[in-house]
Subunit: 336 residues, 4 copies
């Protein structure tokens, strides 16, 4: 029985806790640590029979714990990663590792010294639809890749308080799509150009961020890519992708709560997409933890490496510079 | 914590065991009984930490057990139901209660004497798609019901040994669709006409059964219904329904493993439907047990009653007579 | 230049007139005859530069006319057919040839004496969707046919005055679907069972007809078929079909004015089907006349023969008897 | 009866000739002029009963001719336009008016002096799908526009000889999409950034052109837009668009030859898109000429003005500069 400690008792920490308890045989949650437990979270942990701690160091010191999941706030990801790696724990770290490239570098240097697994939380790689796209591409069904298109729109804006600390649209939201481009193509990104605006909510602009963006990219394999993001799609969480190549195209649409279609005198109506990431990616969250635990058990490489975490942040940094300087930016320009 | 005993360690018994362990808080499997455990089943029970028994009477005698799930072979459903009801247990019984109407009557008479819950395993009522159809109908979105159409085709024939004891296509397979007509319309069936043939496998004919059938029905509310079944749809488990009425139509299509679409020089290709009932209805199995346990906890009516179990069997009996006598048969002709 | 006379200046006569003028090179409308021209029809004919006549005999007597299209009221189809055949004209006759089997027999006997082409107006055989289904079946892509399903629903009821003279739902409306079953399967029908009701408009019932029906059939090739009709689908003209067999299924959905999909906070909405037969089958009407003229020019068999016209009426007669006698009726029971 | 002269007897000239003959009452083709008639074209004109001329000046001099369609090679569009305007004919000119902005300016100056109609051949505005998108946007169903996405891919590369004189991908192919962005949004374009490559055929690169491009734009109304083009989509002519805004999204997919879907053990297969522009836009070609003739008859503004022709070329010029200078280019930078 593998023992897993969870650091951070927010929404995503609980998602992983439930995945382990309900879907992943051979593993259990040894403890969950959070500096400020709410009553609800405490009740939840009790119902799951998960011990609660205030100080995550207790988890790191516990020799029976094999792996930790870092689900705390972003600015703590890198320092806790380093502590966890040093204490010999395998680490699953939510995205992004850090907004600061030098911190990611420090994590990666630590990994060179300690033979532990380190996986980054790009959960969408484990979604059935995106996985099917990747599979079709890997199987050569679209031939050489020419064009990648990703649409990713949230159902509604986050609170402005969150926007202020989020690192901005590219680091917080589009980072998933940057990783998706790399995942679907198995190629790195060479250059980024940003076309962004504040169209949804002027408050987001006053907080120094944008809410709508189209980003085009050139990839190392020569292909072109484009991502569009919006903070508010009133019809729900819009998550689509297509890969076009010399032999064809593979595309995925949104998943729906049901495929019921109602035809009346007013039109033919289907359901809106699954509302948001918890509904859409619930199975993907379980799968990513499952693969992380399998990689530990079998001593195999993790499916999403620290370098994958680094690359997505590099693209986000380049995107921010492109937006600031209103020009295409090569990733090779980014120093760290 | 509600304690549940499972009688029968076959495929469906395990499905329910996993549902309770993984998805249903506030309940646990107290024990599982089967007269002939296989090694695999034993190993599975051990991995789930479920005690194994040979004799289901131990479950019925255990005063700490609140409810039993009867997942044994069909001919045992009714006698075990009666024993369980007498021992004061709430009962979830897999479909059909019995092929024999007098046995169902005996179960229902027993239920009049003992105030326990009794739910029948028509799992498809709990499927997200069929539930959405029912909801649209109940919300009046299609108006008065005129036509109900159900397509239900298995990916492949069962073994001939199973066909021989199955009770025949109508009692074994189409019984789900008979119930679905009643569920979607909230109406009873008045008359049945069968158009059936052996088109898939002559062995099925030699075993005295048919493998392809179109059945039309008149409902108590005046609507017309049609069901088509095939034992073998080579493209997978085909599960669709539509309800048409004075104000419109609601229809559901098959669920797919992913919605990836590959376009090549040869055509535009989507995935086949989810293969079979375990893939398609896994969530529905968990939901039906969840609602059963909720009905016990809250002392509310169960969502699928003994009468629902009876009506579906009555329709199957009428269908068998229609096929034998090559004429429409009224349900009022069936004595029991 | 082939010369065509059109008998009957109603809606369908004009459709054929426009097809010949606009789409069919090498043919022209020599004249159009109708006993009671409306001002609108006269104006239309003038705009098309088509000579108008009161007496169709003038067309039959005109030696320069190669072919006639009989688009007059149903009860005149057979007598005019016989006159036209005797006058040596090739004949395209709208469906049905007659409600009366003896009249059809008389037409067929006349055809044995005169070497003219005779095509019946089952326009749906020339629709791109149904043609694609037929092609897939003919190409063996679904293997042996097991189940045929046709849905055919009008957007609204015809006037009661029309219902009274229409010959009833089976002879007037479902006759197209009877022919479609034969076309898609290249098989004859052996037995029919009708399940019908008055659910849309009680006036239709008072006129001695039904407005909703599900009809099941056994075919000569062993397959089973089912057709459902409604006189009123509030969402528009519903025209779908599927053929299921040993190697798979081919299915067609409705055509839409555009495939635009609007996603809002209220749902995801597509357009309703093309409203009615003129919108849906406009190209099919041109194609059937085109193939008729080609068959004359090349002296090839017509694509829809007098026997096809007979068989569809035979099925309708059997359907009427099934409804009257509430039992399955074999086509071999029908004398003529 | 309006008389129309057609200048240029290539593919598109014939399309317009057939539209007028077959679909547009109240108009006829007076003559067709081409300096080098092929035998096929001559035969076609004869079958259509259209007089053929070598010198288009005869058409311009003919006082009975009301309007001319300029369907000759691109470099002649502007000079013939000017001659035709001076001769007092209404002009329909195929796109683009010219690759040279000063020539377009000259055409527009001529139009200020002569009160004739001048329409540019952006046929896709008349397609049923794109029209439905525009209608939904104009009706306010998507609210304020935030993101426009257009995919436009040809089924195969044109001959290299054509590529050399085409003006390049942006002037020849994407110009339709530039216009589509303006049509769908009723907004002008402010800035363009090009991401382009030679991925399909190195010969195209050697001819100085690209074959794959993603272009992002900022519009005057603040919205962002993206277009992707490929010279070769092996699955057929890929023509899609979506407009996303504050209240939702409207999207259109490809049209298919039929909507037949074949399900077999190998998967679920639909048809490929309609092959190329003649199949996909045949009705749109007829509609654009119809609206041109209506605008003349009713003395109403044409639906696609000379300024619309200018703006699309301006965007193409800016796109070429963006590609050459690898930076975003504002339309205000373009002098003419």
């Amino acid at each position: 029985m593998m023992k897993v400690g969870i650091i951070g008792a927010g929404r995503i920490g609980k998602v992983h806790g439930e995945s382990i308890a309900n879907h992943l045989k051979g593993a259990e949650v040894a403890a969950m640590a959070d500096p400020c437990w709410t009553g609800d979270s405490r009740a939840w942990a009790k119902s799951m029979e998960i011990p609660v701690l205030d100080d995550y160091h207790e988890i790191l010191r516990d020799p029976s714990v094999d792996a930790v999941l870092i689900c705390s706030s972003t600015q703590t990801h890198a320092p806790i990663s380093i502590e966890a790696i040093r204490s010999g724990k395998h680490v699953f770290c939510e995205k992004p590792i850090s907004h600061d490239l030098s911190e990611i570098k420090a994590v990666m240097q630590e990994l060179e010294k300690h033979p532990v697994k380190y996986q980054v939380g790009f959960n969408r790689r484990f979604d059935h639809n995106f996985h099917a796209v990747r599979q079709a591409v890997a199987d050569g069904r679209v031939g050489d890749i020419h064009i990648v298109k990703i649409t990713s729109r949230d159902p509604d804006c986050p609170p402005i308080s969150y926007v202020r600390v989020s690192g901005g649209l590219f680091m917080d939201m589009m980072i998933h799509d940057f990783d998706m481009v790399r995942y679907l193509t198995a190629s790195d990104v060479k250059e980024v150009y940003v076309n962004a605006a504040v169209l949804v909510d002027p408050e987001i602009g006053r907080a120094g961020d944008v809410d709508t963006a189209i980003v085009t990219m050139r990839l190392s394999n020569g292909a072109l890519a484009v991502i569009d993001n919006s903070r508010r799609a009133v019809y729900g969480y819009d998550q689509r992708a297509e890969v076009f190549g010399s032999m064809g195209q593979v595309a995925v649409e949104n998943d729906l709560p049901s495929n019921a279609v109602v035809s009346t005198a007013n039109g033919v109506t289907a359901e809106k997409p699954l509302h948001f990431f918890l509904e859409r990616y619930m199975n993907a969250y379980a799968a990513e933890i499952g693969e992380f635990l399998n990689a530990i058990r079998d001593d195999e490489p993790v499916p999403v490496s620290a370098n994958d975490g680094l690359q997505a942040v590099l693209i986000a940094v380049a995107a921010n510079r492109s937006m600031a300087e209103h020009r295409p930016v090569k990733l090779s320009e980014i120093r760290f």
